[in-house]
Symmetry: C2
Subunit: 342 residues, 2 copies
């Protein structure tokens, strides 16, 4: 991959272009579908025409995988319309190559260079092909899409691999990375968009004071280069009938997103409850009337040898969960697990 | 991509192999680092040797990106050790090709076929190369890793693209997909691993009864093919000092993961609070003493034209959030946003 190439893991640049079938097509309107974006120099060249026709021939299979195949060329709308007449392929006209340029699918001389991008249902690029053989290209894109769809139907790999690890290396974590974690958390939804979460990031001497307030069982968190305190107040969010106070639920959603972001960044983000809340509030200046619902211990993974025997066994052992049937039912609560005495 | 190839978006199969540097290397032990897995037939062939030496030459750059480069070949440990002596590259011996076979990096005749896999910090494959030119290969892997790392430092694309969309198509969602959403939610952590979340998935006639209990503002949710009720009870989770009841916080973390899973699957998962909790509890048989904290409306995205003017404007408008400085502070709570009167 040359330096000049598009980052094939990044967001797909948005665009709106006129379609040979009439009207315009915007990338954001296709969200929820997979999108194959195929940039090609011109329908008039036999090799490129063959390439586009190969996508046309496979269109029913792409459609059955909930994918839209979109060809983009600098040709005029009328040229593209003649070409697409029987095929049903979406062809968009990009006469000044502005979109091709946004995808870096142009030569230094400004001519379109053949490239294909596979965009997922969330609008993110997942695979790219630059130049390469025309023969078999559409088939390879289809096979890659099939693999992607199969992977996307499985449990998200970040959700799957996240664990409440305790062994930390003690390495520092950049301020920017800590801020990115909160940015991700802040994208959570909340009741009436109240955004009830308040984070205080403890580092340096303040962090030492927070560590002094940890319970004995959280000795491992003393190796953390940062701890995020998450506090809120009941009045910061909806208070609805039948016990539905939303502030802690909202903080939970934000923490869920934060943990996923941390896992992507190769960080542990372990929410704990074992600390003296008054001492931590005092150290961080959090108003006493707030609920300090969790401290989120941040760090890079380290050696399990730093842990107690009990914690080492948990760290290296399998994940423990109740069977799914204890927490989910269809249409009737029925036999869902209840603690004794409720 | 042939049908016989490894799914390059799936989890990287685990393995443990002896290293030419002594000891053994397990893939799970490398979690938290990027891993380049390079399968090659033999160090003795000039072309493959050149390939491996190219990785060796770039080792400092891979290391600076927090990546481990691991070469795997059927050669004996002593052959690999002689080859690796000056380079510092991790070379693993896979004499019966069992690991190569797990990665489908073998010919039908059982010989190793050159292939390289880029594994992310969570253990998921993100890119793969099969055969292809030796010249420039290591450089291309490095450039791809650099692009991946840059993307992983940004906000996760599923977190970024998730929105509380209201426009639903009305298309059905498979039972298996609904179950997958709850599976993802059930991987959330919780206080003392109490797993306080209880989901009831409403479909069919029961769904109609739930829809009858929605507030007027949630008219749009009547197009949903399924609604997940999430209920819990204070006694299902830790109740700690200073107002720290964890059950709703835990339900929030689970909902955070569920929304990410839904976004990956091209689904809307929109938690709402506007419903008559008693009527929904009755429809679903949820014990009256439980808190029915949210209904999560599930569906595929549809046309914004089905929405009220107000909701259409929200659906198509920018996302609204307080500035980050209103919800996060360094070391001191200080000026964080508080609602009036607290």
């Amino acid at each position: 991959m040359d330096e000049e190439r598009m980052n094939p893991f990044g967001p797909a640049p948005e665009f709106t272009l006129p379609s040979a079938a009439g009207g315009a097509v915007s990338l954001p309107d296709l969200a929820g579908s997979y999108v194959v974006l195929h940039f090609f120099p011109r329908t008039g060249t036999p090799a490129w025409a063959e390439d586009v026709r190969a996508f046309q021939a496979l269109l029913p299979e792409f459609t059955s995988l909930e994918a839209r195949v979109v060809g983009i060329a600098p040709d005029s709308l009328s040229t593209l319309a003649r070409f697409a007449a029987n095929g049903g392929l979406t062809l968009l006209s990009d006469p000044d190559c502005a979109v091709a340029r946004a995808y870096r699918a142009v030569t230094p001389e400004g001519r379109v260079q053949r490239a294909t991008f596979l965009v997922d249902r969330a609008g993110s690029m997942r695979w790219a092909w630059w130049r390469g053989k025309v023969a078999g290209h559409a088939e390879e894109v289809l096979a890659t899409l099939r693999a992607l769809q199969a992977a996307d139907e499985a449990v998200n790999p970040l959700i799957h691999s996240r664990r409440a690890y305790r062994a930390l290396s003690g390495e520092p974590v950049a301020r920017e990375a800590l801020q990115r974690l909160v940015e991700a958390a802040h994208l959570a939804p909340s009741c009436f968009n109240n955004q009830p979460w308040r984070f205080v990031i403890a580092q340096g001497e303040t962090l030492d004071r927070v560590k002094g307030a940890l319970s004995g069982g959280n000795y491992w968190a003393k190796r953390a280069p940062a701890i995020l305190a998450l506090a809120s107040h009941r009045d910061l969010d909806c208070k609805l009938s039948d016990g539905r106070d939303y502030f802690l639920f909202g903080c939970g959603m934000a923490t869920g997103l934060l943990m996923i972001q941390a896992t992507q960044m190769g960080l542990v983000a372990h929410p704990i409850a074992g600390y003296d809340p008054h001492a931590v509030k005092e150290a961080l200046g959090i108003p006493e009337e707030y609920v300090l619902i969790t401290l989120i211990v941040i760090g890079k993974r380290g050696e399990a040898s730093t842990l107690s025997d009990k914690h080492r066994a948990i760290e290296l052992g399998p994940r423990e969960r109740k069977p799914l049937s204890a927490v989910v039912a269809w249409n009737k609560f029925g036999d869902l697990y209840q603690t004794e005495g409720i």
